[in-house]
């Protein structure tokens, strides 16, 4: 079942429009990356998905039901970790325990809090009694994360969780979040510039630009290193030796986007040598997900270390006889690759 369905959302701050989203669905237990330049609306979108604010126009459905702030459906299930770590003026223990206290869920409180602290790499003996002002940025962020993980949320929204922290903290934060997904099936939506998140973990990536989902969303971001290739093009060697070709980017742009709507799925049985041709790649299907309209299927295809999610009609799925695990080919036009 889809977890989120965001429909015709237009959001304004005063008279300025900050978001304009036609239609997007987020499945359960996925890890969704959210990328876009500063000011593109990532934080706003996460706030709306966290039901901290209500969209000016449009609706957000959670598990099929239209939902807003303070709703009993979502209040205890969806949590947002904001960009700047903010702790209340109390001890670390009190900060982490807050969520459980307001739910009146006090069984074995001490050991649960200490477990959560261990999950983010904060030893209870030295950290539990510390006051909020005696922590580094990274430690504070980990405390904030622990407070949320403790709640075993169904959705964890992370706004630049590792942007302002030291590398150790970044690693621990990532590890703890992924563990949540693995153990409890928590859906993660991560707004980030950190390639380690996107590269290694995201099932699909939403790309926001000026408040709009770029080219239908769910794109695939490709990072360096790139080598100079043939005729002014750059090429990137994937882990399995395949090569992705893209045109040279402008100054300062570093991330290439494969627009899934421009990709074509082909059967390998018909052209077995395709993978050596420029503009062709081989991979295999990892996930098929039917969207709520009953017509389109999100098809996730893993190509070496990349995952692209292409929306195709269900008839095509039947025609191509797609199933998870099946090997397929992807065709793309190198000139159409965009840079971020």
């Amino acid at each position: 079942m889809e977890l989120y369905h965001i429909q015709n959302v237009d959001h304004y701050y005063g008279t300025k429009q900050v978001l304009s989203i036609d239609d997007v669905s987020i499945p359960e237990a996925a890890i969704i990356g959210l990328i876009g330049p500063n000011g593109s609306g990532k934080s706003t979108l996460l706030k709306l998905m966290g039901f901290l604010e209500e969209p000016t126009y449009g609706s957000i459905f959670f598990k099929g039901r239209k939902t807003g702030p303070f709703s009993s459906d979502t209040r205890f299930k969806v949590t947002l970790l904001p960009q700047e770590p903010y702790l209340m003026q109390r001890t670390v223990f009190e900060n982490v325990a807050y969520g459980l206290k307001i739910r009146s869920d006090l069984k074995r409180l001490k050991s649960r809090v200490e477990d959560a602290m261990l999950q983010v790499g904060l030893a209870p003996e030295s950290f539990a009694r510390r006051r909020w002002s005696a922590l580094s940025g990274g430690e504070a962020q980990r405390v904030a994360l622990a407070a949320r993980l403790l709640l075993k949320p169904e959705v964890l929204l992370l706004d630049e969780p590792t942007a302002n922290v030291d590398t150790d903290s970044a690693r621990l934060i990532r590890k703890a979040s992924l563990k949540a997904r693995d153990e409890w099936g928590t859906t993660l939506v991560v707004a980030t510039h950190d390639w380690q998140w996107l590269f290694e973990t995201c099932d699909s990536v939403l790309h926001l630009l000026h408040g709009r989902l770029f080219k239908g969303g769910l794109g695939c971001a490709v990072y360096g290193p790139w080598k100079f290739g043939w005729e002014g093009f750059l090429q990137k060697e994937l882990e399995d030796g395949q090569v992705l070709v893209a045109p040279s980017p402008e100054e300062g742009k570093q991330v290439a986007i494969l627009d899934p709507s421009r990709l074509k799925i082909v059967l390998l049985s018909k052209s077995p040598l395709l993978k050596w041709k420029i503009g062709s790649l081989n991979g295999f299907v990892t996930r098929l997900f039917l969207e709520s309209n009953g017509q389109t299927v999100q098809t996730a295809i893993k190509i070496a270390e990349l995952v692209v999610t292409i929306r195709i009609q269900r008839e095509q799925v039947e025609l191509l006889k797609l199933y998870p695990g099946k090997e397929v080919g992807i065709q793309y036009e190198p000139k159409e690759i965009e840079w971020l």
Binding site: L52, M88, G99, R103
Partner: protein
């Protein structure tokens, strides 16, 4: 100038020898002030929260009115309360004129704008991220209110200290509404007014010093509170 020295000597004498009239006045002052502060904090903190936290039509105008009320002269408040509590007035039947609760009502009105304005300022100054954090951890509106007020508790304490200072030292209300009746509604401040009008300046200074001592004691305990929370 000698009456100032005289005042110090007399203050010591009054306190150490347990002068009954002085201690009666101290008791009256403390009783009226505590009632007034309790009422104004109970009402003022939630109202201050609403003013600071929510955005509503006419918010700016309400804020201006509250800030203006900070300058209410005590004699003016005293007069208005007298008009309300007098026999023929709307609350005449309550028999509150010339009583300590009557004084407390007037003093509460003096204190209320201070508590509201300073609480609202404290709430407004609190980090936007607090609200986001509280909501994202699943707090409902009531829990957000309580937690926010706890977060700005030092600002609220400052409001209480300021208001208490103003209430302990006012004369206009105690005089008009209390009537300065010896043993019953004579406060330290009205006693000072009386002694000064009788020409007993030394006594006036003495009582002033007593009041300062009370204020010092109150503030020491509030400072102790500040360290603990």
């Amino acid at each position: 100038m000698d009456f100032i020295q005289e005042g110090f000597a007399q203050a010591y004498a009054l306190l150490v020898r347990l002068d009954p009239a002085t201690y009666s006045a101290i008791g009256t002052t403390l009783r009226a002030s505590s009632l007034a502060m309790a009422a104004s904090l109970l009402l003022g903190i939630p109202l201050g929260y609403v003013l600071g936290y929510f955005d509503f039509l006419l918010k700016k105008q309400v804020r201006i009115i509250v800030d203006t009320l900070l300058s209410l002269p005590t004699v003016f408040i005293g007069l208005v309360i007298y008009a309300l509590l007098t026999r023929h007035g709307p609350l005449g039947e309550a028999g509150l004129l010339f009583t300590i609760p009557g004084i407390a009502i007037g003093q509460a009105i003096l204190s209320l704008p201070i508590v509201i304005a300073l609480t609202a300022t404290a709430v407004e100054a609190s980090d936007r991220n607090l609200h986001i954090t509280l909501m994202s951890l699943g707090a409902n509106r009531k829990q957000i209110a309580v937690s926010t007020l706890w977060e700005v508790r030092l600002g609220i304490l400052a409001a209480a200290v300021t208001a208490t200072g103003r209430v302990l030292t006012e004369v206009g209300i105690s005089l008009m509404v209390g009537g300065n009746i010896k043993w019953h509604t004579r406060t330290i401040t009205t006693a000072i007014a009386l002694e000064t009008s009788k020409g007993e300046f030394g006594m006036g200074i003495a009582l002033g010093l007593v009041l300062l001592l009370i204020a010092l004691t109150v503030n020491i305990s509030l400072a102790g509170l500040r360290r603990r929370i």
